[in-house]
């Protein structure tokens, strides 16, 4: 099973090159939107990629440390990081040279090699605090392969009358014979590894949590008395947000069945808040690695990849997400399905809707939470996805099709298999 990893690179932009950079990124974006961009898909290990310009204006709240203009590059990739970086700078050399020519520290023109480009990226890459993968173990290649397999079977089923065969088991066998006869699906015979819920880890973590209950109660009380009570009530609503900003976000939304979300927030300055944030990151890491392995992050069934990244000395946090559907649905899901998680995490950032014991208020304060989300969102200049026509549910379903195809199924199981189409 090939593991997927996050990559985040944060580079300072040369003062006089911010505008040029913006223009260059916009050209790539337009080409992507019009479908004329052909380079990205040559990077075989690349799931999602984005470039985001982060400057003072990106921060809704006063930053904790001075911020200049920086460029974020983020990918979700398969396997080895070094190999991914090599692919990036060899397949996308022109993009990287054009773009990072505008950034500090990139090798000078004429002196650029694969190695020093890679070293540059390594030097400016920053650590991920928590990472979610909606289809653990599925490489880009596997996702494409399994889509072809599903489409082939779908067509085969549709083009057949199935008059003679009546049981699901017989149909399942016929489908397998069909795939057996096609050499391009040879790979499907090997079962794809799927990550299961790691109960042992969870039990361990649960026990730890039990032991820590007194600490948690004291902590929550302390937070409530000395922090939450003093937090300001938030009154910003969606209607009041800056039109120009919202329009810039909407300009690049709903162009495909999938969308992106980039957000930057400022952590509350107190030590306990920053510590609490780290605790929530730990919690999210444990859950994402051990429990949320079947395509649902905090019960939300539409997220392909998401990550939290602390930076600027752990004073600021970035949140990235790649999801199915649109903003209203996505944020609504966050409130409906996992308001507690979001509240726990983001209540440690400045001007988040007021909470009580990190349980009520916060994300459940729908109007103000939505306004907070929109106003801390940052426009994504370039966003690439190699499989925009697949939902995360489709991807996980396709793997099940592949794995069930070569299993001996009983009638009930075969019926479930057929319902996948």
């Amino acid at each position: 099973m090939i593991k997927q990893h996050p990559l985040t690179i944060l580079s300072p932009v040369k003062k006089d090159k911010a505008e040029t950079l913006d223009k260059r990124l916009n050209i790539i974006r337009e080409n992507l939107q019009q479908g004329t961009e052909t380079e990205f898909k040559k990077v075989s290990t690349l799931h999602y990629g984005r470039w985001v310009i982060l400057n003072r204006e990106s921060f809704r709240d006063e930053p904790s440390v001075p911020v200049g203009t920086r460029l974020i590059f983020s990918t979700n990739f398969d396997g080895d990081k070094d190999n991914h970086l090599t692919e990036l700078v060899t397949q996308l050399t022109r993009y990287f040279d054009d773009i990072y020519d505008c950034c500090e520290g990139y090798p000078e023109e004429g002196a650029r090699t694969i190695e020093n480009r890679k070293n540059y990226l390594k030097k400016y890459s920053i650590k991920t605090s928590a990472f979610f993968n909606g289809a653990p173990g599925r490489s880009v290649q596997q996702i494409h392969q399994e889509k072809r397999l599903r489409d082939h079977i779908w067509n085969y089923i549709s083009n057949n009358k199935w008059n003679g065969k009546t049981t699901a088991v017989e149909i399942h066998k016929a489908i397998r014979n069909e795939i057996d006869s096609k050499s391009e699906f040879e790979w499907a015979k090997q079962k794809a590894g799927v990550q299961g819920i790691k109960w042992l880890n969870i039990t361990g973590y649960g026990l730890l949590l039990l032991v820590a209950i007194p600490l948690i109660i004291v902590g929550a009380l302390y937070l409530f008395l000395f922090h939450e009570l003093w937090n300001k009530k938030q009154t910003l609503t969606l209607s009041q947000l800056d039109d120009k900003k919202v329009n810039k976000l909407k300009e690049v939304e709903d162009l495909f069945p999938q969308n992106q979300f980039t957000q930057v927030a400022v952590l509350k300055p107190s030590f306990i808040r920053r510590l609490n944030f780290q605790i929530w990151m730990l919690r999210t890491r444990v859950l994402a690695n051990n429990v949320f392995v079947h395509g649902k992050l905090l019960n939300i069934p539409t997220i392909h990849f998401a990550r939290w990244v602390l930076f600027d000395n752990n004073r600021h946090v970035l949140f990235f997400s790649n999801f199915d559907g649109n903003w209203q649905q996505y944020l609504g899901d966050f409130i409906d399905q996992s308001g507690w998680g979001l509240t726990g995490i983001f209540s440690n950032t400045v001007n988040f809707p007021k909470t009580k014991f990190m349980i009520t208020g916060g994300a459940y304060d729908e109007e103000h939470f939505l306004a907070w989300s929109r106003s801390t969102q940052v426009p994504t200049q370039v966003w690439y996805c190699p499989y925009p026509d697949l939902s995360i549910k489709n991807i996980n379903n396709n793997t099940k099709i592949r794995n069930e195809l070569y299993m001996d199924l009983n009638e009930e199981q075969a019926k479930i298999f057929l319902k996948r189409f």
Binding site: A168, L238, S239, V246, P301, D365, H368, D389, K415, L418
Partner: protein
């Protein structure tokens, strides 16, 4: 729970006026703000509110964002507290993508409300027992508004014949009921908090919906009450006046229905190998697409055949999980299962699903136009253009109307589907190259698929309106 101030709320939100044989919607433009305001102030007392006795006529009024500005409610800080969807209107590049208004439905081709049409500021909704009464009433009103307002387009609607829309299906069965409005809900999940439909009350998240506030005083602010959400002027500490309270937003879309195209397509799907059409089979397929039989009976309870008019025609008390988890009776992709998922919202457990579904309801107010025609597999050629004046009320256009249209109807990825838009209202006329549009009918073994869906509903016009309370109308007369 807050009691609804019924005498403040325009009655069309609460009542469907089914007894009114004629519904005339006058789309109008402000020509002279002073005269227009005079009319609005004078007509406020004649507005049919939810406590009013309904006799021969009803009158309601809605205002677009351009209308508010034209009337002089033009202070940027005040306008900016109206919801973004309302302020932008139904036509914007992003909204076009959300609502799927492309090809023949492109706003540039609309008959009203589009960029090529005259600006719409107001909608005057005149209802009468019959056409003559409505027309008479309108002429009487016209004398009062003529000096300041002109009519740019008229929509001539009437109640659906036998409650059937033109494709032939019973319509308007599932309808939410506003808690506190004094009406009993028909379905088990239809009692919805007032704030989903009326501004100034708490919604299904137990918070107040985003409300338009009078941030900068204009006219006679003392007419308005303070906003209940606790928004106040930071400088003075005084609560802002609320122009939205007891008001709501109204969505209106004129949807032309290609009845002949629809039934011809369905009948083709029901043809046997020899090319013979089978009307009974065609009706069954049509019912699968809809999720109900033409009579209205839901497929969940009547999977095999239409029990006929009168039997469960108004059944709205069913749910999916227990009876039809796999969609073998009512397909996941069917129109009614998508637009009101009841206890089967995504993969949430039934109790949670019901709660979540209540956050995405609309109060439908639908009229038909064109010939009184009820289509069927046997009879599907109406004379001239027929369609629906689809209307709905909601407190949050983005979370309700637009969510249903985009996330539930247009998105082919609804639930676990791959390429299945809503077969009635979500199909693109000219999909992008390589994009499939299917309808999947789950079966015991091999699912049946209807490929290459076609679009039989065309948008001909549309707009978003603010429906002020009676008091807010009086206030607008004073600005």
């Amino acid at each position: 729970m807050a009691l609804l101030e019924l005498s403040e709320i325009q009655a069309y939100l609460i009542k469907d006026y089914k007894e009114m044989g004629s519904s005339k919607y006058y789309l109008m433009q402000v020509k002279d703000a002073t005269a227009a305001k005079r009319f609005i102030a004078s007509v406020a007392d004649n507005i049919t509110h939810a406590n009013a006795q309904i006799n021969e006529t009803c009158l309601n009024i809605g205002i677009t964002s351009s209308g508010l500005i034209a009337l002089g409610y033009n202070h940027e800080d005040n306008m900016h507290t109206f919801s973004r969807e309302f302020r932008e209107g139904m036509v914007s590049p992003h909204r076009q993508r959300l609502l799927g208004d492309f090809d023949s439905s492109d706003p540039s081709k609309w008959q009203w409300g589009g960029p090529a049409n005259e600006r719409v500021d107001l909608i005057l909704m005149v209802f009468g027992k019959n056409d003559a009464i409505a027309e008479n009433y309108f002429q009487h009103l016209k004398e009062k508004f003529e000096a300041g307002i002109s009519v740019v387009h008229i929509l001539d609607g009437k109640p659906l014949p036998n409650d059937r829309e033109h494709f032939g299906f019973r319509d308007g069965i599932s309808q939410p009921v506003i808690k506190g409005s004094g009406i009993n809900a028909a379905g088990n999940n239809d009692d919805v908090n007032p704030g989903e439909f009326v501004l100034g009350y708490k919604n299904e998240y137990d918070v107040y919906p985003d409300a338009p506030l009078l941030k900068v005083p204009q006219g006679k602010p003392e007419l308005l009450s303070d906003n209940p959400g606790g928004y106040e002027d930071n400088a003075t500490g005084k609560a802002f006046k609320d122009i939205g309270r007891n008001g709501t937003y109204f969505v209106l879309r004129q949807l032309e229905q290609n009845v002949n195209g629809y039934w011809s397509f369905i009948k083709k799907q029901a043809m046997d190998e020899h090319g013979n059409t089978n009307n009974e089979e065609a009706t069954k397929i049509a019912a699968k697409l809809m999720g109900r039989w033409p009579s209205g009976a839901p497929l969940v309870n009547h999977p095999d055949k239409d029990p006929g008019p009168g039997i469960d025609s108004d059944d709205n008390n069913f749910s999916y999980i227990k009876k039809d988890k796999d969609g073998e009776k009512c397909p996941f992709g069917s129109h009614i299962r998508r637009t009101n998922p009841r206890d089967h919202f995504e993969e949430s457990p039934p109790g949670v699903s019901l709660k979540l579904t209540r956050r995405h309801r609309i109060m439908r107010r639908v009229r038909s136009y064109g010939e009184d025609f009820i289509g069927s597999a046997e009879n599907h050629k109406p004379n001239g253009e027929v369609g629906l004046l689809f209307g709905c009320f909601n407190a949050n256009i983005s979370k309700q109307f637009e969510f249903i249209q985009y996330t539930w109807a247009n998105s082919p990825k609804f639930k676990k589907l791959y390429d299945d838009p809503d077969p009635i209202i979500g199909v693109r006329e000219c999909p992008a190259a390589g994009v499939k549009q299917n309808f999947t009918i789950p079966q015991k073994t091999v699912n049946k698929v209807i490929p290459n869906l076609q679009s039989f509903v065309t948008v001909k016009g549309g707009a978003y309106f603010f429906f002020p309370s009676v008091t807010a109308l009086k206030f607008l007369g004073t600005i």
